[in-house]
Subunit: 441 residues, 2 copies
C-alpha cells in the first residue's frame, strides 16, 4: 500500500479529512523556544494593545484568536461546510516539471487555486465573515491588491449575508478589471484606492495625484471607513496572527498528504506579501523543527525584489497602514510610506511582513529570498508548459524558488520540495501578455 501511494501524482484526501482545528504556532513557540513575537503597541501609549483597542475593528472572537495561546483553535462547522467545495485541496507531484529540470528532487505543490475564489484567501475570509455575522456585524470593509483577497471576502460575505466594501489598489484596479467584475458578481462594492471617499484617500491623492496606490494606502482607507460605522468591521487578508492561523488548514492537510504517500518535505516554500499563504503551509510543518525532530527542514519565504521587506526591510515597530492608524506592529518593514513599483504581483506589494514571520526570520527559522519580475514569469512559463497550470504572479515567486532549489539537487541525492501554489493566474493574464511580448520590467 505504501509503495503504491508513493507513486501517486495527485494526493487527495477525503472530505472527512478536512482539519477540524487550526494550529496555533504561538503555542509551540512558547513551548519549544520559550519566547514569542513582540506584541502590537498602541501608538500613543507605546503599551501593548488590549482587546478594547481592537474592538472597533474586529469581531471579538477574532481578537481572542489573535492573542490565543491554545494549541488548536476550532474551525466553525458552517465554515467547514463551505470548505467542502474545494478542500481538502490536492497535493500534486510535479512530475513533468521534475523531468524538464532533470532534477533528482521530488517537487510537490499544494494547489490552493482550486478554491472557487481562485486562491487560499477563502480559507480565512470564510472564518472572518462567519464570526462577523455571528456578532451582528452588517458590513465588512477591506483593501485588496491584485484582487485575490477582495474576491475571497466578497464571496464569503455573500455566503454569510453581509455587505462588502473593497478598496482596490488603483494600479491593480486598472491592470485587472475583471477582478472587479468577480467582486461585483458577489455584490461587493469596489472602489479604486486612493479614492476621494475618505479623508486618507484625499490626503494621498493630494500628495501625489498620479499615485499607483499601495496596500498601505488602501488599508488606511478601509480602516477609516470601518471606524466610522458601528455595524461595519474591518477585515484583513494577511499579516495578523488570526489570519495566519486560519491558513494553517493548508499545512495540516499537507502533513496528512505526505503521511499518506510515506514521504517528508525537506524544503518548504511560499511567496510572501503579508505572509499568510507561506505561514499556512509552513507553520504545521515547523512544529517538528521547533521540537528538534526535523532540525534540517528548511523554510523559504519568497518576495519580489520590488517590495522585499524580509530581504531589505528594517526590523522594528512600524504602522501597518500608510495612514498610521493601526497599532504599531513589530515587523520587517520598508516603511509605511513606501510605494512599490507597479509589478503584476499586486498581492506582494505590502511594505511589511507579518510580525510572526519577521520574528521567525530573525530567529533564523526561515530564510528569505527575493526575485525580479521577469525571472519569476519565466519560471511561471516553464511551470505552465510542464504542469499545465497558469499560476498567479504572486505564486510564481514560489515556483521560481522551487525550481532554483530543484536545480541545485541535480547532482546530489534528491531532496523533497513542497511549495504552496497559492492561486491561479487566470485573472492576471495581462502580466503574461506583457511577459510574452517582452514588455515586462
Amino acid at each position: 500500500m505504501l509503495k503504491k501511494n508513493k507513486d501517486l501524482t495527485k494526493v487527495m484526501l477525503r472530505e472527512n479529512e478536512i482539519p477540524q482545528r487550526f494550529l496555533n504556532l504561538n503555542f509551540y513557540l512558547n513551548k519549544y523556544l520559550g519566547k514569542l513575537p513582540p506584541p502590537p503597541l498602541h501608538p500613543g501609549t507605546k503599551k501593548p494593545v488590549g482587546p478594547e483597542d481592537l474592538a472597533p475593528l474586529f469581531p471579538m472572537e477574532l481578537i481572542k484568536q489573535e492573542v490565543s495561546m491554545e494549541e488548536y483553535v476550532e474551525i466553525p462547522k458552517a465554515v467547514r461546510e463551505i470548505y467542502k467545495l474545494y478542500r481538502p485541496s490536492p497535493l500534486i507531484r510535479a512530475r513533468r516539471l521534475e523531468k524538464a529540470l532533470k532534477t533528482s528532487a521530488r517537487i510537490y505543490y499544494k494547489y490552493e487555486g482550486v478554491s472557487p475564489a481562485g486562491s487560499h484567501k477563502l480559507n480565512t475570509s470564510l472564518v472572518q465573515a462567519y464570526y462577523s455575522q455571528q456578532e451582528g456585524v452588517k458590513r465588512l470593509v477591506t483593501e485588496t491588491g491584485a484582487g485575490q483577497w477582495g474576491s475571497a471576502l466578497a464571496m464569503a460575505c455573500r455566503f454569510f449575508g453581509l455587505q462588502c466594501l473593497v478598496y482596490m489598489v488603483r494600479i491593480s484596479y486598472e491592470q485587472k478589471p475583471y477582478r472587479r467584475v468577480v467582486m461585483e458578481l458577489f455584490e461587493a462594492k469596489v472602489i479604486p484606492s486612493p479614492s476621494k471617499q475618505t479623508k486618507m484617500g484625499r490626503k494621498f491623492l493630494k500628495a501625489n495625484p498620479k499615485t499607483h496606490g499601495s496596500l498601505g494606502m488602501a488599508i488606511a482607507e478601509a480602516i477609516e471607513e470601518a471606524v466610522k460605522d458601528k455595524e461595519t468591521k474591518y477585515s484583513l487578508g494577511s499579516v495578523l496572527n488570526h489570519v495566519l492561523l486560519h491558513q494553517t488548514v493548508i499545512g495540516l492537510e499537507v502533513q496528512k498528504q505526505f503521511k499518506l504517500i510515506g514521504d517528508e518535505p525537506d524544503i518548504v516554500i511560499g511567496c510572501c506579501g503579508g505572509g499568510s499563504n507561506f505561514s499556512g503551509l509552513a507553520f504545521p510543518l515547523m512544529v517538528d523543527k521547533l521540537a528538534g525532530k526535523k532540525p534540517r527542514r528548511r523554510f523559504i519565504g519568497v518576495e519580489p525584489k520590488a517590495c522585499s521587506s524580509m530581504c531589505k526591510g528594517k526590523y522594528g515597530y512600524d504602522f501597518g497602514d500608510t495612514g498610521k492608524q493601526t497599532p504599531l506592529l513589530k515587523m520587517e518593514s520598508l516603511g509605511s510610506d513606501f510605494v512599490p513599483s507597479p509589478i503584476h504581483a499586486g498581492g506582494l506589494r505590502y511594505h511589511g511582513i507579518a510580525p510572526m514571520l519577521a520574528f521567525l526570520h530573525q530567529e533564523k527559522l526561515i530564510e528569505a529570498r527575493c526575485y525580479g519580475q521577469v525571472e519569476v514569469f519565466k519560471a511561471a512559463e516553464v511551470f505552465a508548459q510542464t504542469e499545465g497550470i497558469i499560476v498567479a504572479p504572486e505564486s510564481a515567486h514560489a515556483v521560481k524558488a522551487a525550481i532554483d532549489e530543484a536545480r541545485r539537487c541535480r547532482a546530489r541525492k534528491g531532496k523533497v520540495i513542497v511549495f504552496n501554489l497559492s492561486g491561479h493566474g487566470l485573472l492576471d493574464l495581462q502580466g503574461y501578455e506583457d511577459f510574452l511580448q517582452g514588455k515586462l520590467k
Copy 2:
C-alpha cells in the same frame, strides 16, 4: 458507511479510479436498439466515407475509433498520466443552491472546470495530440469558438511536443483576448477567423468584411490549412464520434461517484454546441436506459436560442463547415452557412449537432431545450452566489436547465439531477460585466 457517504458534499474518487477505457455508445445502440446513426457521406459520390477519405485529416487511430463497434476503447497510458493532474474530477452536491431554490431535488454537478485548461476539452485534446504524435504528425490545426477548445489543444500539443495553429472565431478573439494569451503561453499560433491566410477566409471576408465569424468558417480555414501539408493534421473539439467517445471518461466517473454515495440520477443535463460535454456525461448513463433498466431516466441537451440546432434545425445531411469541404454529416442543422448572433457562449455557436446526438434526439432518447442569453446569465449569477463557482457562459445553459428542473420538484418527491459543469468562466468575465450592467441582449 453508505449513509455516511450519502452525506458527502464533494464526491472524490482516488487517482487509481480514473477510467482505463472509454465507453462506445455505438456498441450499445447496436445491441439494444439494433440501429446506428447514419454514416458520413462523401459529398461527391454520396457514398459512406472510408478511412482513406479521412486520412488526410486525422491520424489513423482516431479514424478507427470513429467507426469502432467495440464496447470499450483503451485510454493510452500517457494520457492517463496527464489526466492525473485533474481527474477524477469532483462530483459536487449543490447544497446551497438547493436551499436557495427551496427544492426537494438533489442537485449534483460534475465539475470539469478543474482541468488546467479550464474545461472538459482537455479530455479529448490529450488523446488527439497523443495519437498524432505517435503517428509522426508535426502540427495540429484547429478552430476555436470561445477558446476553451483552442486552449485545451494548445496545452495538449505542448505536452506532446507538437506545433499548434488555432483559427479563433473573430467575435470571440475580440471578446476574450486573454484566451489568446493562454494559447500563446502554450506556444500555439492564434489567428482570428475569417482571416486572409486561407482561400476560404478570403472568400468569407469578401462576402462580408465585417462578419463576426463562426465555427463553421473557422473549421473551413483549419481544414484548408491541414490538407495543404502532409505533416499537419486537423483536430476537432466536438461533433465526431471519436471526440464524444473521449468525453465518456466524465460519465464513467460519475457512475462510480453515484455508486459511492448510493444515489442515482433521474435527470441528466448538459449544454450542447457540437455536443461533446453533454455526450460525455450522458452516454455512460444512457446504457441503463437503452437496456431497459432505467427507462424513465431523462437526458436534456441545452442550447442557446441564438443557435439551436436541435430545437430549430432540420434533420438531414449537411456539411460540417461553411466551406463545404467536410464529408456530409447527418445532423440537425441550421445550415452550414448559418452565422449566429455574437452571444457570449461562443462554444455553442455551431450550426449543427453531433450526428450521434441528432440520432438520439430523433429516437426520443434525449430532449432538447433552448434558452436566451439573459436568463442563462441570471442562472449563472444565482449559481455563483450560492456555489461560488463562476461558470462558463456555455455551462450556464446547463445550470439554467438544472434550476428549472429543480424548481419543478418543489412540491413533489425530490428528483436527482446531475449536470455537467463543463468549464469555469474566468476568461469570460466580459459577458458577466455586460450582464451586470444590463447590456446583454
